[in-house]
Each structure stands twice: as C-alpha cells, then as structure tokens.
C-alpha cells in the first residue's frame, strides 16, 4: 500500500489485505421501498480483517445496505454472499449468517427487561447452546473488555448511552462473530460519550476483526479504516483507500461532501 507514512501509522496503512479471503461480496444489489429505489446496483467486496467505513449524506442508502448484509432488510436484486453463504430466503442460511455477523445499532436496542449480564449471555446460551456458567463467565470477560464489568447486574435503563452502546458491542461479540457491522454506532450519543464507544471499536479493529462501519465520525474513519466507501442516492460514488480518499478524491461529489464536512 502507500508509503507516505505519517507520524502515526494507522491500522489500514500498515496492513496488506489484498490476499485475504472474501468475507462479504455484494454484486449489483438493488432494493426498492415501494417506488423509491434505496439501493442501486451496489457492488463491493470486503476482505478478511478489513475495516471498511461507509460514508454519505442522510438517505444515501448506507444503513439500508449494511442491514441487507445480515438480512434485516431484504434485497430484491443481485447477490449477497457472506462468508461463502449466499443470502436467500432459506431460513437456515439466514440464521447461520446472522450468528456469524454481529451487529451494533444506532439505538443500542438492548433488551430492557434483562440485566446486562443476561443481555450479553442470552444468545450464546440459546443460539450457541453453551452451558450457562460458561456463557456467563464469557459475558463477564467481554464486559471487562469494554470496561463496564461493575454494571453486570444493572438494567439497561440504568446505564448511560455510551455504556449501553458498549454493552451492545459486548452482546454482539459474545456470539464470537467473524464480521461486525456498525450502523451509526455513535449517532445517538452525547458528544462526551462518543469517545468511549469509538475507543472500543478502535481496539476491536486493531484486533483484526472484519468490520463494516457506517458513521459520520471523520476522525475515526481516517484513523481506523482500511478503505472508505462514499454513497449517494443508493449508489456507490467513490471507493478508495483511506489515504487517497481524503488526500485525492476523484469524484466531484466526494470533494463537495468532504469540503462541507471537514
């Protein structure tokens, strides 16, 4: 990759991922809501251990796309293959893909009637069929990693937004996923809580997780992403390595977007 090494090498710039396995392959994915076309022939490939950040203005289809990848939304045309499993209407494939793909939502979506420990350990116990004791000790270890083991017995409503989002990350990691999807993980947070969540995501990226992140945090994107994808109107406008995307965008629309946002 590029040799223009800045003072601090970032994750993307020191890794060569071109030989990695294809984890997510999208070919001409299209989707409509009624007459409105939300995705228009989106094609992209994400390699193992790669961190891809998806940017774009509101309504550009980035959330729709990322939600298609674990079939929370159903694409109507094209192919999506996740870890060699194609997403079709076959329920078994969908459940297999979903248990391999962790997802973190903008609104956290923790289960309000369960305490933090149960939030994290429920899926391993019932989906992965782990013994309860093992699942709970794993959950505690994950809570330790995201920095909030002392909250294990509390309920989501008693935690701050940043803490809730970190629990949501722990919940996704408890399924030991091979891919993590982040759908605007910091958009619903107060400014002072954004950092604590981004820190967790950063360490996760450095640990070699394959990740796709929809975000508006440019600093974070610059620091963590191997590659950036810029979308508008349901289409991919530009796709480039982090370095080139910021230093030398090719499309006019990207330049405009960057000039407005930076």
């Amino acid at each position: 990759m590029t040799d223009a090494t800045p003072a601090e090498p970032t994750a993307g710039q020191i890794r060569d991922l071109s030989k990695g396995r294809d984890m997510i392959v999208c070919e001409d994915v299209s989707k409509w809501y009624g007459d409105f076309q939300a995705l228009d022939k989106v094609s992209a490939t994400i390699k193992e251990q790669e961190v891809v950040v998806v940017l774009g203005p509101s309504g550009s289809g980035k959330s729709t796309w990322i939600r298609c990848i674990n079939r929370l939304e159903i694409h109507q045309e094209g192919r999506i293959v996740v870890d060699d499993v194609e997403l079709t209407n076959d329920l078994r494939n969908i459940e297999k893909v979903r248990s391999e793909v962790g997802m973190v939502f903008q609104q956290f979506n923790l289960f309000p009637h369960l305490n933090i420990l149960d939030n994290v350990s429920l899926a391993p116990i019932w989906v992965r069929k782990k013994p309860r004791a093992e699942a709970e000790s794993q959950a505690m270890a994950l809570l330790e990693r995201v920095g909030i083991p002392e909250q294990a017995q509390k309920y989501p409503g008693q935690l701050s937004g940043g803490q809730q989002q970190r629990v949501a990350i722990a919940r996704a990691l408890a399924m030991e996923p091979r891919i993590m999807l982040f759908d605007e993980p910091t958009s619903a947070l107060d400014p002072e809580m954004i950092k604590e969540v981004l820190d967790v995501i950063k360490t996760l990226a450095l640990s070699g997780m394959t990740m796709m992140v929809v975000t508006h945090e440019m600093g974070f994107a610059k620091e963590v992403a191997d590659r950036l994808i810029f979308m508008e109107g349901g289409q991919i406008v530009e796709e480039n390595t982090t370095e080139l995307f910021f230093s030398n965008p090719t499309e006019d629309r990207t330049k405009l977007f960057l000039s407005q946002i930076l």
Binding site: V127, I148, A168, L204
Partner: protein
C-alpha cells in the same frame, strides 16, 4: 480478536463515589389547620364545594347505615347460611377435605410470601395514622347510625379507643434514622389473629341451617361453633408456620429451584385439589392398571425417547417436520373411534415436539426437557383418569360444590387456561403465517361478537349432545371450556396491544444475534409485551371473576345465585335478598380489590429495569 483491553473506563460517566450528595429538602408539611385552609377552603367557591360534598357524603353514609342497622334486616339469614355461601351442600362428614384444600393453599401462600420477600417495612406512625382514621370512622358511624343511646355510647367508646391507640403510635416513634418501623406482614398477622381470637371470645352466636331437621334453623347464643373456630385457628397457625418454613428455605436453599418448584405447585394446586381432593374419585383399580397405566407408560417411554432425539442440536429443523406429522396423526385420531386419553396425549406430545428445537442443547438440557414431558404427562394422565372416575361426593342437583368455592374455582380455571390460549391467539394473529393469522382473527372476531351467556348456554346444553357416545363431560367442566374460549379471545386482544408496543429495534436486535422466531418470542417479545399489558390483563381477570355470576343462568349454584334465589327461598328467611346481596357484593369487592392491588405491586416489581 486477540488481547484487546480498553482504558476508556475513565471516560465513562460514572459519578465519583465520594462526592457528598445533598439531601433533598424535606417535604413541607403543613399543620392540619393550615392544610385544611390551603386545600379545602382556599376560595369561596372551594369552600362551598367542600361543605356541599361533605353534606352529601354524610347523607349517603347515614342512609347506608340506616339500611344496615334497620331492625327489620334479617342478618341472621346471612349468618345462618355462611356454610351455604362458602361451599353449598358439600357433605359435612367430608368437610375435612375442604379444610385440607384451604390448608394447602395457605401453606403455598405462606412459603411464597417468604420466598418472594412479600411485605415491607411500614413506619409505626403510618400504622397509627390508619388506626386513627379507622377510629374516627367508627366514631362517626356511632353518631350517624340509628342506634339506641347505650349502643351509641359503646360504639363511640370503641371508636375513640382505637383512635387513641392510633394517636399514641403516631406520636411515639422517632424521626429520621431511628424511625421505628414494623413489617406489613406483622400488622396483617396481628389483625388476622385478632379476628380469629374474637371467634373464641365475642358472642357472635352459633347459627346453623340444618336441612333435615325441624326447626331447621339453629340459633344459640354464645361464640361460634367449634367446627368453625377451631379450623380457622389451625389455619392461621399453619400460614404463620409456613411463612417461617419458607424463610428457612429461602436462606438455606438456592433461590431459583425453590421459585420454580413453587410456581409448578401453584399451577398444579387448583386441578389436583378440585378433582382429586374435593371430588374424591372412586378409582376402579382394575381399569386403572389394565388400561390407563399401559397408555401412560407407552407415551412416557416413547415420548421421552422421541423428545431426547428431537432436542439434539444436530436434529435441527428436521424435528419440526416430525412434530407436524405427529400433530396431523393426532388430529386424524379424531376420525376413528379411540379413547379420548390417547388423543389428548398425542396432541400434548405434538406440542412438546414442536417446541423441542427451541430447547435443544447439551445432555443436561435434553434430560430436563424429557423430565418435563414425563411430569406433564403424569399429571395430565392422573387428572384425566380421576375426572373420568365417578365421585364419591354425592350432592343433589348439579355439581358437588357451590357458592364461593365454585365462583373461585371457575374463575381460577378460566384465568389459568385462557392465559396460554389467549397469548397463543395473539401471537397467531400477529404471525406472518396467513393460515394462523386468519384462523385466529376469525376465532377472535366470532367469539367477541357473541354474548357470554350464549356461549355458556351453548356449552352447557348443546356440547354434551354433540359428544361421541360413551363420553361424558359434566356441565361445569363444559361451561368452563366455553368460558375459557370466550375469555381467551378478549385476552388475546389485550396481549396483542402489548405485542405491538415492542419496538422494531427489539425484533431486529434479537434477529441480529441469530435467534429463531420461537426464541425471540419467548425471551424477548413476550416478556416485554406482557409487562405492558399488566393493567388491561388484570382488569380482564377481575371481569372474569365477577362475570362468573352469569353461571347462575345455567343453574350453577354460585355465590350470587345463592344470595339472590336460594336463601330468600328458605321459608325462615323469606325476602331476605337485599342483605345477602350486600354481603356477596362485599365478598366480590374484597377479591377484586386484592387482585387490583396485586397488579399494582406486579407493575412496580416488573418496572424495575425501566426507570
């Protein structure tokens, strides 16, 4: 995902532990005179309103007292017929069965109260406050009621004594840290003990109605009969003992198994007590060993083997196909002559098989599931056998029990059975599968469009005519089935409201971690939906309890029927309907109010994580 640790704990917004927190200012408490001035006489209009309301309330209260204490009231019709009110004509020589049932319920209550830590600390000042209020009410009653002078003085003295005790309690306790408190359970037990003790001391009189004797009404002065006061004393001791036993269990044993056991016992108690204890089936051992036992054993062995195969994680979705096949076979059995118990067992097995993939897991989980099947099958077989066996309790005219007992029995069975059915209907109605959705919608709309009385009459008269030859269903059981169907349709709509309140994000979060639809429903959607539905569901339960009085129309001797028809029909108490109607409405109110309070407690309890 190697070693990734994170140091963002510092940036979390955990408040520092040692920052002194300013105590909130104590609520401004006005002295009584100021309070009255600020709240009741703040403006001329308010003053007029206060005076007017007080006058109207006093007039109503006085009218009510004039009714109750009118010398023409035949209150001995109520006192004499208390046994009739409670159980109707359940034979005296078997009455120990009734007390056994009461004891079992009280033991469960006592242990559960201890295990679930019922009761809370109540400041003695609050107890004093309540006593003061009660005393004041008694004094007011003494002044307003049409008593003779001596009676007025007696009631007045009693009221003032209660009020004085309350005032002493109210003033004595310290403030803040050393505020004296007393458990609400202690208060409750003291009150109950007072009531029970009064049975031994106060000359309520000994009233009994004896049908086969002349004169039939027995009225002696003195305290109540030994057969009344002794059992109630024992019951009080039992419930207190059970509470302390429950505390021991709570402290010595792990919490979850005890709670699970208690829940199962609570669910088992109604059918077992009614059909095995009160009904006292006269088992035919030859038939039981020759027919019922082999059927049970076949299903136990076959079912356990099948289910332990189905709960292997490897079996996966293939299990559902087998489950559906069993279900189909189960329905087909209705086309051929066959013992009812074979069909029912088959349908139960199909339900277990359908749920099996959801509960799949390691050896432990599989064993638990098989044991669950054996337990359910055992209880069901036992009950079916005993329901099919004639009862030794012979009571002329209809069901063997009546009065409050049958009111409670029908209400409890209806509520218990219509919950799973109603939840199932609600889930079916919101399901994405069109067959379920249309069937459920059709059922709900049809049942809701028909008056309850129609359904009750249909089930009591028509259904027995449609049954295949050789099959009997006693009238009360048939009516309960009809009532369950009616109630579940309404319950389903309440639950559906709750289901709709679960946000899309919750569904997506459950999907995103790979849960199956069944797991999502059981662990995520239903708990939240039911919590939201608590108020309408409890309202529904209260309605079901009160509407059991419609059973009177099809000739069941329930509480209201006895008060309205049976007692006023006794030659000794002609036309005593009004007293008895007042009495039963107080009983209905007590139960309905307790349900309502239980619902408030439940809401507070389940609101724990919400903030």
């Amino acid at each position: 995902m190697g070693g990734f640790g994170i140091g963002s704990r510092n940036s979390a917004v955990v408040p520092a532990a040692n920052v002194p927190i300013a105590a909130p200012p104590e609520a401004l408490k006005l002295p009584p005179r100021e309070w009255v001035k600020a709240n009741l006489f703040s403006s001329p209009f308010n003053s007029v309103l206060t005076v007017l309301t007080t006058v109207v309330l006093l007039a109503i209260f006085r009218g009510f007292l004039a009714f109750v204490f009118d010398p023409v009231r035949q209150w001995d019709s109520t006192a004499t017929n208390l046994q009739l009110f409670m159980t109707r004509a359940y034979p005296d020589e078997q009455y120990i069965r009734i007390w056994f049932c009461v004891a079992v319920i009280l033991i469960l209550t006592g242990v559960s109260m201890a295990v679930w830590r019922a009761g809370s600390a109540m400041p003695t000042a609050a107890v004093g406050h309540k006593l003061l209020g009660t005393g004041a009410l008694l004094a007011l009653l003494a002044l307003l009621a049409p008593f003779s002078a001596s009676a007025t003085i007696q009631w007045l003295v009693a009221g003032l004594a209660v009020a004085a005790t309350g005032e002493v309690l109210r003033r004595s306790p310290g403030k803040g840290e050393d505020e004296r408190t007393v458990s609400t359970l202690t208060v409750l037990v003291i009150a109950l003990a007072g009531l029970v003790a009064s049975l031994w001391v106060v000359p309520y009189g000994h009233h009994t109605y004896i049908a086969n004797r002349v004169p039939r009404v027995l009225a002696e002065p003195g305290t109540v009969a030994l057969t009344t006061k002794l059992p109630w004393t024992v019951m009080l001791l039992i419930v207190v003992a059970a509470y302390f036993a429950g505390r021991l269990m709570r402290d010595r044993l792990p919490a979850n198994p005890i709670r699970a056991t208690l829940m199962v016992l609570w669910l088992l108690a109604p059918p077992v007590l009614v059909y095995l204890v009160l009904r006292d089936p006269d088992f035919d051992i030859g038939h039981v060993v020759g027919t019922d036992l082999p059927i049970f054993l076949a299903y136990a062995a076959g079912g356990a083997a099948l289910l332990s195969w189905l709960t292997r994680p490897l079996t996966g979705e293939a299990g559902r196909i087998i489950a559906v096949l069993i279900l189909l076979v189960g329905f087909c059995t209705f086309l051929t002559p066959m013992r009812m118990v074979v069909r029912i067992d088959m349908l139960m097995l199909a339900v277990f098989a359908l749920a099996a993939p959801t509960f799949a897991g390691g050896p432990q989980a599989r064993k638990r599931y098989a044991v669950g099947w054996l337990g359910v099958l055992g209880v069901a077989s036992w009950l079916i056998t005993s329901i099919n066996t004639p009862s030794t309790v012979e009571v002329p005219g209809g069901f063997f029990i009546g009065g409050l007992s049958i009111t409670l029995m029908v209400a409890v069975f209806t509520i218990v059975f219509s919950f799973p059915l109603g939840i199932g209907l609600a889930l079916a109605r919101t399901s994405s599968m069109p067959i379920f959705r249309h069937l459920s919608t059709g059922f709900i709309e049809i049942v809701r469009g028909v008056p309850l009385i129609t359904i009750l009459i249909f089930f009591s008269i028509m259904v027995p005519l449609f049954l295949p030859a050789g099959m009997h269903l006693d009238e009360v059981t048939a009516v309960i089935i009809g009532y369950v169907l009616f109630s579940s349709a309404y319950l389903a709509e309440n639950v559906r409201g709750g289901l709709q309140s679960v946000t899309r994000g919750q569904h997506e979060a459950a999907d995103a971690v790979g849960m199956t639809t069944a797991q999502k429903t059981v662990f995520i959607v239903l708990p939240q939906a039911l919590r939201v539905s608590i108020p309408p569901l409890v309202g529904h339960c209260i309605g079901v309890f009160k509407e059991t009085s419609l059973l009177a129309i099809i000739g069941v001797f329930d509480l209201l029927y006895i008060a309205r028809i049976v007692i006023p029909g006794q030659t000794e108490f002609m036309g005593s309907a009004r007293e008895n109607l007042l009495f039963v409405s107080v009983i209905y109110w007590i139960f309905a109010y307790q349900l309502s309070k239980a619902s408030q407690r439940l809401e507070r309890r389940t609101g724990l994580g919400e903030r």
